[in-house]
Amino acid sequence: MSTELGPTPVKSPASGGTPIHHGPKGVGEDNKILSQGKWASWLLAPTIIALAVVIVYPIISALVMSFQKDAGLDPVTGLFTAGGPAGVQNYVNWLAQQCSAPGGGTVACPPGTLGAQFWSATATTFFFTVVTVTLETVLGFWMALIMARTFRGRSLVRAAVLVPWAIPTAVTAKLWLFIFAFEGIANKLFNTTILWTGSEWPAKWAVIIADVWKTTPFMALLILAGLQMIPAEVYEAAKVDGATTWQRFRMITLPLVKPALMVAVLFRTLDALRMFDLPYILTGGANNTTTLSILVINQIRQGFNAAAALSTITFIIIFLVAFIFVRFLGANVVEQSGATGKGKK
């Protein structure tokens, strides 16, 4: 279909084979000898080096730190603990919710401490992710279908969906905090007297609603872009053959938009798994709205190395989810070019 427009992963781009760079006369000969690979490595070097410094170095550094003991005063006993190698103790502490006990050894972390919150934070993070991404996908699809139709004022709608996207999350959080205030507009409109940030479920829903508001537009635009790749003739043909609206949606729209949809869902899922700003500002992580990212941030000032272990766990979780998406659900991000036909399976 559209494979001819963009470069496909397997075939060489249209320009393939011809040398791209013709240097000024004289050095032109030398440039021809340089392979494209050599050119590419020179051009890519700054980006790769920069990313190595700002991403790869911290990953390795965090990994090293996570196997070290935190030196400092024990918050429970007030005694000084020396640093040094810790083996996998930091990981065990998080996963088994064990805290170091006075006089060595470990005990179950007392409720309320950060150490006791790992599994609840994980559950909260996944709960937020599943609920927000599901809602965003459904709402985003609906918005995309509307924006794909032709009607007067369509450009107005397309512009309006960019507004929530453009507002910084920190501002979004404060705005919804105000909307959900006890005397705020939400309680007034729905004639309720809910202390939204005061107990578990209202607090969770406050975060979910704010997140869905903020990020559905992104989802809608990605899906819309996918919809616009479907040629109109396919629909015309189906109409002639007597397919109903529902049949057309199920047999044409869904399979053809699937590659774009999967990428959008993948992006949003990975983004939701690292959710921080919204719950941090909206609820402060209270009432079981502490996500893994918030837990890491809260831990940093109590001990770098334990925090490093937790951030590594978070990273591994996100990596695994991404892997599952790409491997089993067919979200083919990198080779998306010309992959419209892959949506069949």
């Binding site: 963009g6 050119w39 920069a50 409109l189 872009a225 500002i281 925090a307 991404a322």
Partner: protein, 298 residues
């Protein structure tokens, strides 16, 4: 059955069909408009509420009339007021400074990588693309712990570079990825044509490629600036009062009474932070949507 009655029956059926189709069409159009209005309200109402509150007198913070009431500009003065320890004005300058530096550095480094990824053939191309895309999905918390320790050790806590460097880690991949998609769609044959027509390499680049690439680079710059402008996690941990960006300033905005959140002033600050972005986004709407969705479908 005679042929005549069959034709009449067929015609009647066709007429009915056409009418039903027209009705369906009208009904569908009506539903589209209703849905469109719902989408408009859903997207704009909360933002509208922020702006309305920003212009409302403090005493009427919780006034819930939908239309603007008790209109005042005082909140904008309060937003910039430093007597309660808020440094919103300084934070605005910080955000602009950090955003500009991050954007420029990312573009300067990223444009070469994007060119290579869009134009050249080499081994490991998709590995590199995958690495860059993976980098953009990288969780900020995984960076913060080692950086927190490193910057504490070398005395960089609260400095601008401590905020700029981590920002580059997620703005640069975004920049490369967006520009690569844009570059792939550029009519590069024109470069060859210009050369055939007697342009030098430099002229072909300056007169043909640069004007073509400018919109792509500009759009990428806007997206890069916005993502730097919106960053909160890293700044909330690594900035000081003097270097904090607007997101941190708004999140920690204090009022006269410690137990009362100064919502009207916060909404005013939020409006100031948001309006330039919204204008920018609306003016370059088409390009920005293309940039946002570039990687996903093409």
């Amino acid at each position: 059955m005679s042929a005549g009655t069959a034709t009449t029956a067929l015609r009647a059926q066709q007429d009915r069909g056409r009418k039903a189709a027209q009705n369906r069409e009208k009904w569908a159009q009506g539903r589209t408009y209703i849905s469109a209005v719902v989408v408009l309200i859903w997207c704009l109402a909360p933002a509208y509420w922020m702006v309305v509150t920003a212009f409302r007198e403090v005493g009427f913070t919780y006034d819930t009339s939908i239309l603007p009431t008790h209109v005042t500009l005082d909140n904008f003065n309060t937003a910039f007021d430093t007597s309660f320890g808020n440094r919103f004005g300084q934070a605005l300058l910080n955000s602009i400074f950090i955003g500009v530096v991050v954007t420029l550095v990312s573009l300067l480094i990223g444009v070469f990588a994007a060119y290579a990824l869009a134009r050249l053939n080499f081994r490991f191309k998709y590995l590199v693309l995958g690495f860059i895309l993976g980098a953009s999905m990288f969780p900020g918390v995984a960076l913060i712990t080692p950086l927190f320790q490193l910057f504490t050790n070398i005395g960089w806590m609260g400095t601008y570079q401590a905020l700029i460097i981590p920002n580059i880690s997620f703005v640069l991949p975004l920049t490369v990825y967006t520009m690569t998609s844009f570059f792939r769609e550029m009519p590069w044959e024109l470069e060859e044509s210009a050369r055939v027509d007697g342009c030098t390499q430099g002229q072909a680049f300056r007169k043909v490629i640069l004007p073509l690439a400018a919109p792509a680079i500009f759009t990428t710059a806007i997206l890069a600036f916005i993502s730097s402008w919106n960053e909160f996690l890293i700044a909330s941990q690594l900035s000081s009062d003097a270097t904090q960006p607007v997101t941190v300033a708004i999140a920690s905005f204090a009022g006269a009474q410690p137990n009362q959140i100064p919502y009207t002033a916060i909404m005013a600050a939020g409006t100031i932070v948001t309006i330039p972005l919204v204008i920018l986004v609306l003016v370059f709407q088409r390009k920005i949507v293309a940039g946002l969705t570039a990687g996903a479908v093409k």
